[in-house]
């Protein structure tokens, strides 16, 4: 039994399943609608696997018109819609309800336009993150946001969660790389925002849509900024036996004027597991930093010299500049396999919160204390340059009560992030996971304002129900809608 509640399904909708499925089939063709229970089960969860619920039906339209047709049906029949990209959300952002139509973007897979002179790519949002960079790689370009799940995750989900990645210290997150969208409102109306030009006129609705977790509209096409690839990149590994000193090193590097493309951090529990798994040559120490810079060979050497001077002044236990492409790949292999390596030895819950860089040492210390109090081990691997933490809470899913214990610890850790001046999310969104913690970050009137904005876009509250806003706070609105 887990602790995050979902509202009971609407019995009236469940009773009308046959009619709803028939209407969907008529709208987009029976081949793009899934309604058999053995098949809808494939969509019962995303990457927050502790929560599962097969949807009433699944619709997989092939273009914007198809998405609009599905939305019109659901709007007319009063059926909630849960949007889903690739289903890699760690916060339950695409967890279905039993009375919903799950609207998947998996068949929206076309690249529509590539324009190197104006440096953008326009595509359907079911395209995966990594394939965007792969598409333009041969011509010397890349797409900057690079979440860990980039092999699988879809641009639709990246936009919904405003995804980041290891390299956003320099390049920003999705919202900084999104130029325009085509989207469908809950009524089925199709709306265009932005475009290839650098800014959009009027209110910044594009900025509002990005990161709105499927609460406002379904984004079917996106215009993304693409960037020329750097001449080269190289990391340095720096180990310390004190988290506080490592935090100091991060702040000193940032203050020095060097802007690394990434500053990654791993603590001892994480290093141990990763080293065992990837044999990346990591030192056993309290805190390991991987700092990467970009440019020509000479530019890289110059920046790394500045960084190593800063690091050495703080007496590291290890400092190793990558000497070759092979060494660089190995250093990154360890970092990138951290989640997988952890998963091999343990069940874990991956948290996501952000704190001011200056508060990193204190937050890590507090996480250690909370970990001891709750009797569950926590490993930390995260983007230190921008304070985006990913504490991994290790637990045993087969031991009764362990998941609940992990959830309580997770909530305490996220509250700590807010207490030190940070926020509940970094790049995974709120979803269901952090929904009920929103009251710790926002006053009731702040949440009310956000919900009023949802009212504007989705007056009947059909889109992605029971997410983002505390269940209690949204109850009245969802009841009226039903």
């Amino acid at each position: 039994m887990s602790t995050i509640a979902m509202p009971p399904p609407d019995a009236g909708i469940l009773a009308r399943k046959a009619d709803i499925v028939a209407a969907l089939a008529e709208a987009i063709g029976a081949g793009d609608v899934i309604s058999e229970e053995v098949e809808t089960r494939a969509y019962e969860c995303d990457a927050l696997t502790a929560y599962r619920c097969p949807p009433l039906a699944v619709a997989l339209p092939r273009n914007t018109q198809g998405v609009a047709a599905v939305m019109r049906v659901c709007h007319e029949l009063g059926v909630p819609v849960v949007p889903r990209g690739a289903g890699t959300s760690l916060s339950g952002g695409s967890l279905p309800t039993a009375d919903c139509v799950l609207l998947g973007t998996s068949r929206l897979r076309d690249v529509l336009e590539i324009d190197y002179d104006n440096r953008f790519i326009r595509l359907q949002t079911g395209v995966t993150n990594l394939s965007v960079s792969e598409t333009v790689d041969g011509d010397g370009f890349f797409y900057a946001p690079d979440p860990s799940s980039q092999l699988a995750c879809a641009i639709a989900g990246n936009i919904a969660m405003n995804s980041g990645g290891a390299h956003c210290l320099k390049y920003g997150v999705t919202t900084n790389n999104l130029l325009g969208v085509r989207m469908v409102l809950s009524t089925g109306e199709i709306v265009e925002l932005g475009g290839p030009q650098m800014d959009s006129g009027g209110l910044d609705l594009l900025g509002l849509i990005c990161g709105s977790e499927g609460q406002l509209a379904i984004v079917t096409e996106a215009t993304l900024r693409i960037l020329p690839k750097p001449e080269g990149a190289r990391p340095v590994m720096i180990g310390y036996d004190d988290a506080e000193v490592a935090g100091q090193c991060v702040a000193d590097i940032i203050k020095s004027g060097v802007l690394p493309v990434a500053i990654e951090y791993m603590d001892r529990p994480c290093i141990e597991v990763v080293e065992n798994f990837a044999k990346a040559g990591y030192p056993m120490c309290e805190a390991l930093l991987i700092v990467e810079v970009e440019g020509s060979q000479a530019e890289i050497a110059d920046q790394l010299a500045k960084i190593t001077a800063i690091a050495e002044a703080l007496d590291p236990v290890e400092l190793k500049v990558s000497a070759s492409a092979t060494e660089s790949a190995l250093i990154w292999k360890g970092r990138k396999s951290a989640f997988g390596a952890m998963g091999q030895i343990n069940d874990y819950m991956c948290l996501d919160g952000t704190v001011p860089v200056s508060a990193l040492p204190f937050t890590l210390k507090r996480i250690g204390e909370l970990s001891a109090e709750h009797g569950l081990k926590v490993a930390n691997v995260f983007h230190a340059g921008d304070g985006n933490m990913h504490p991994l809470i290790l637990f045993d899913a087969n031991r009764p009560g362990d998941l609940e214990k992990a959830e309580v610890l997770g909530a305490d850790i996220l509250r700590t992030c807010v207490e030190v001046g940070g926020c509940l999310t970094g790049e995974h969104g709120v979803g269901i996971e952090k929904r009920d913690l929103m009251v710790d970050q926002y006053a009731p009137e702040d949440l009310e304002m956000q919900m009023q904005v949802k009212d504007v876009f989705d007056p009947h509250w059909l889109l992605n129900p029971a997410k983002v806003f505390p269940l209690q706070a949204s109850t009245g609105r969802r009841d009226i809608a039903a």
């Binding site: 324009d115 650098m198 209110l203 440019g295 001011p356 860089v357 504007v456």
Partner: protein, 385 residues
């Protein structure tokens, strides 16, 4: 004309708005008043100044963040950043030259108008560096959104919505901004004797290299490419770009002249003549020359480019009629939008200052305005609603 109300606190700002809402009195909002010429001409009887609500709340160079009350003079912030070798990377434009205004631009005004400058082409706009806001809505509620950490806003990103809303959705009281290190040095390559089309070709070629061009502007008949960074980076990149364009005449600009050059480009000093209306077009760079040509054919306009051609400035004699129709038709043929930045009060009353939007977008914007400001008291009509 009513006197300015100048509250000293966020609560005071809330009170002022609540009173205005109760009385149904429209409020004209102001920071330093240096950009007062932007927007549709309005006749709000109330005057609310944010200038009394000033000060840096927090500045952590190691966290790359600064939190500032909205009435704080921009110079106070840039001086503080400068002392730590940091900057507002979006290089906000100073409108005083264009409007002949004298006050001090404020941080709130900069965010409300989403003011950026030449580095926008590489670094992003003001909205990209806005981490969070506190604001007073049209009913007097004090609200917050986002925070002071990098990465995403938790929940809906209302901060982005406030940025560029020109005070029509809320009165900004505090903003958190991400800052960046200042480059150690900078150099510019200048290419004389070009027309807008040739300049855009040059920009497209330069901006698809990895040399991180941080300014790409065209003024008069000269295209400028700016390179910034550590000395070794600037030397390397300038050399590589010079190689790339080795069949052209290139001159270099450095030092004080360099700073002056980009300040002038940023502030559009070349179109300071108040006798012209000034239009700002946001377009796909490769469409810039054709659009500028269409406008010039009909209206005899002068043109400059920034953001690698993505930003077109058109200066058009005030005497020219049908400016909005002609400019917007030229933009509509290819995509983008046009804003009248400087124009006579008559023109700003009679013509749509901001690009008219598609019906669905206009409907959403109108409903958002009604949600944030149900009594229509915050800069009423300034954005056309």
């Amino acid at each position: 004309m009513a006197d300015w109300i100048t509250p000293k606190s966020e609560a005071g700002i809330g009170d002022a708005v609540r009173e205005a809402a109760a009385a149904g009195t429209g409020l004209r909002l102001s920071g330093g008043g240096t950009r007062a010429g932007i927007g549709q001409a309005i006749d709000a009887p109330g005057r609310l100044s944010l200038a009394g609500h000033a000060g840096i709340e927090l500045y952590e160079p190691g966290s790359l963040t600064v939190v500032v009350k909205s009435g704080t003079p921009l110079k106070t912030v840039t001086d503080a950043l400068d002392a730590e070798g940091q900057m507002l990377a979006f290089e906000p434009m100073d409108h005083r030259g264009l409007f002949g205004t004298n006050g001090e631009p404020t941080v709130g005004g900069m965010v409300a108008a989403n003011v950026s400058g030449p580095r926008r082409v590489r670094a992003g706009a003001c909205r990209d560096f806005l981490l969070g806001v506190r604001f007073v809505d049209g009913t007097g509620r004090v609200l917050k959104n986002g925070g002071r950490v990098m990465k995403n806003v938790t929940g809906l990103d209302l901060s982005k919505l406030m940025c560029g809303a020109h005070g029509t959705l809320g009165v900004l009281t505090e903003v958190s901004l991400k800052v960046l290190p200042k480059p150690e040095t900078a150099r510019t390559l200048a290419f004389e004797g070009l027309n807008p089309g040739a300049a855009v070709d040059l920009f497209c070629a330069a901006l698809r290299t990895p040399y991180e061009v941080s300014g790409a502007a065209f003024v008069g008949d000269t295209a400028y490419l700016r390179i910034e960074g550590f000395e070794i980076q600037v030397a390397h990149r300038a050399a590589r770009l010079s190689d790339l364009f080795k069949d052209r005449d290139i001159s270099g600009v450095e030092g004080v002249a360099h700073e002056r050059l980009w300040a002038d480009i940023r502030d559009v000093r070349h179109f300071a003549d108040p006798g012209t209306a000034l239009w700002r077009l946001s377009v796909k760079p490769t469409d810039a020359a054709a659009i500028a040509g269409d406008v010039a054919d009909r209206l005899g306009s002068s043109v400059s480019l920034d953001w690698g051609g993505g930003l077109v400035w058109c200066a058009i004699g005030e005497g020219q009629h049908d400016q909005a129709e002609i400019v917007r038709a030229a933009v509509a043929r290819r995509g983008g939008h046009a804003t009248l930045v400087r124009g006579s009060a008559d023109r700003r009353r009679g013509e749509a200052v901001f690009q008219p939007q598609a019906d669905a977008v206009a409907a959403l914007s109108g409903r958002l305005k009604a949600t944030f400001d149900p009594h229509d008291v915050l800069n009423p009509g300034l954005m056309g609603y």
